[in-house]
């Protein structure tokens, strides 16, 4: 699998500025919460700000529980700007995976 992180400044409606994009490929036997959390921690290392991920990616846990597991500020997407940023990360990770897996 491929994890993509987009470091961006966002307004309630739009992505204002993209600071950095990171991709991290990973091979794992199971996709449990620990694997996801380790991957997120690795890919967001040294990036400032709040981590935003989709609820399904974090096994529908409450945001405060994910915050305590990750050990940094975390929230689920609420505004259109946050949803735009997540959609962008999805496209990037999908394209990255395609680049790696397809000959």
């Amino acid at each position: 699998m491929v994890c993509a992180a987009v470091s961006a400044g966002i307004s309630p409606e739009y992505i204002e500025k993209i600071h950095q994009v990171r991709l991290k490929p990973c091979i794992a036997e199971t996709l449990d919460l620990n694997t996801v959390v380790n991957l997120i921690n690795a890919v967001t290392q040294c990036l400032e700000g709040t981590v935003i991920a989709e609820k399904g990616d974090m096994y529908n846990l409450d945001a405060w529980r994910v915050r305590s597991i990750l050990g940094r500020d975390f929230k689920y997407p609420e505004s259109l700007g946050e949803r735009n940023a997540i959609e962008l990360a999805h496209h990037i990770s999908f394209a990255g995976r395609k680049l790696i897996t397809e000959p």
Binding site: S11, P12, E13, L61, D62, W64, E78, S79, L80, R83
Partner: protein, 418 residues
């Protein structure tokens, strides 16, 4: 008189199951109470239980027995019920049972007045019922023997009838949708800016439409008063704007209900600007929750237009309190305006912001010949744009200001006729 009325009212007990892994949310029960009142129910009791899902009754047997002790006309569950659970509750407790989705549909059915909204509601209901009917058929067919006593082809055809009715309604709604798209395009060509009023249910969208345009549309303090879009013209210091009131959003609205109301919601996705109305008198947590639900609905609509957040009912708060509340929802409120539709507070700010955010008008100079086509084009431009100057030389030289669509059409017709 009031006593007679309360005796004739339908009665209900509200039930809510909270997930033990998630934080309690008192707003859910409040919302269910508001919906029940809007559907005309007198609430006898509110029962909440914190536990995992019971596969037979959704809640524990004891809680349902407690609800039945009030002798209600109906049990209303916040959580979605499976067909099996409805069957079990009906057969064990002889209680009429609905869930939140069916309660919303009940409100919609009682308020629907146009053919479009009736079709949308029928489609939502059939889409919801189809898998339940399929499930009921498969349960009935279990252990079926060949020959007499079997459910046969009749039950199967019931499911097919539902599917074909859904297909017919879809086709009818597609026509309505394309009519709406044509109408919007025509309005744009006529030089109108399209502005949609969107927001959580009971935020005051219809009241704002009435206050801005003297529309006289039905506006009440209850959820889902508006089910069909209503459009009225607004003169914005020379700019011609069409304001459209739309159906309100609600949290956890099933996706197929959004699909059924797509033609109504397309007014939002195709607008040039969206006025996102929110009720500022709600507590900060609920205001955040409602704004987040509105953002989700706008995302589902595919809206790309700029947004102005109208924080309505600001007159109910002190100035300092309003600003404090605004700071708490800043990340969910693009271009916020504090406003009161009932007192007129903040209207000047809203008008200024509308001017700023609407696409700027273009200024061009064109030449038209002294032919009948040239004259009719000039007449059309007088109707659809702001004429800055017309001079009659060897040709008519027209200087105008208007929307991009109007200007582009004027330029192409000028080039064609010369």
């Amino acid at each position: 008189m009031n006593n007679d009325k309360s005796i004739n009212m339908k009665t209900a007990v509200l039930l809510l199951r909270e997930n033990p892994n998630q934080a309690p949310d008192p707003y859910r029960m409040e919302e269910l109470k508001g919906l029940a009142a809007a559907a005309g129910y007198r609430v006898l009791a509110e029962i909440t239980q914190r536990r995992g899902r019971d596969h037979r009754f959704q809640l524990g047997r004891g809680k349902i027995q407690e609800a039945m002790s009030y002798s209600p006309g109906r049990l209303i569950f916040y959580n979605p019920l499976s067909p099996g659970q409805v069957f079990n509750i009906r057969s064990e407790f002889s209680a009429s049972t609905i869930d939140r989705f069916n309660l919303i549909l009940e409100i919609f059915v009682s308020r629907a007045s146009t053919r479009e909204s009736k079709l949308q509601i029928e489609m939502a209901k059939l889409t919801y019922d189809a898998p339940l009917v399929r499930n009921a058929i498969s349960m009935k067919k279990k252990g079926e023997q060949p020959g007499f006593g079997g459910s046969g082809a009749y039950d199967e055809s019931m499911y097919q009838d539902i599917r074909s009715r859904i297909a017919k309604i879809k086709a009818a709604l597609k026509d309505v949708e394309s009519m709406g798209e044509d109408r919007r395009q025509r309005r744009r060509e006529l030089g109108f800016d399209l502005v949609a009023l969107a927001g959580y249910t009971n935020a005051g969208k219809s009241t704002l439409l009435n206050a801005l345009t003297n529309a006289g549309v039905d506006a009440k303090d209850q959820p889902f008063t508006t089910l069909s879009p209503t459009t009225r013209a607004l003169d914005l210091s020379g700019r011609r704007v069409l304001l459209t009131d739309t159906v309100g959003f609600i949290d956890d609205l099933p996706h197929f209900l959004i699909k059924a109301f797509r033609s109504t919601l397309s007014e939002i996705s195709e607008a040039d600007l969206v006025l996102l109305v929110a009720d500022m008198s709600d507590s900060p947590e609920i205001l955040r929750l409602k704004l987040a639900a509105s953002h989700k609905a706008l995302w589902d609509c595919g809206s790309q237009a700029p947004i102005i957040t109208v924080l309505n009912k600001a007159d109910r708060l002190e100035q300092g309190e309003s600003l404090e509340r605004l700071a708490m929802v800043r990340d969910l409120a693009p271009n916020p305006v504090l406003l009161s539709a009932s007192t007129g507070l903040g209207f000047v700010d809203l008008m200024q912001l509308l001017h700023q955010k609407l696409q700027p008008l273009k200024e061009v100079q064109i030449k038209l010949p002294y032919t009948s086509e040239g004259m009719s084009e000039l007449s059309r431009l007088y109707d659809r744009s702001e004429m800055l100057d017309v001079s009659y030389e060897d040709q008519m030289v027209v200087k105008l200001r208007g929307k991009e669509e109007v200007v582009t059409r004027a330029l192409s017709s000028s080039a064609r006729e010369l």
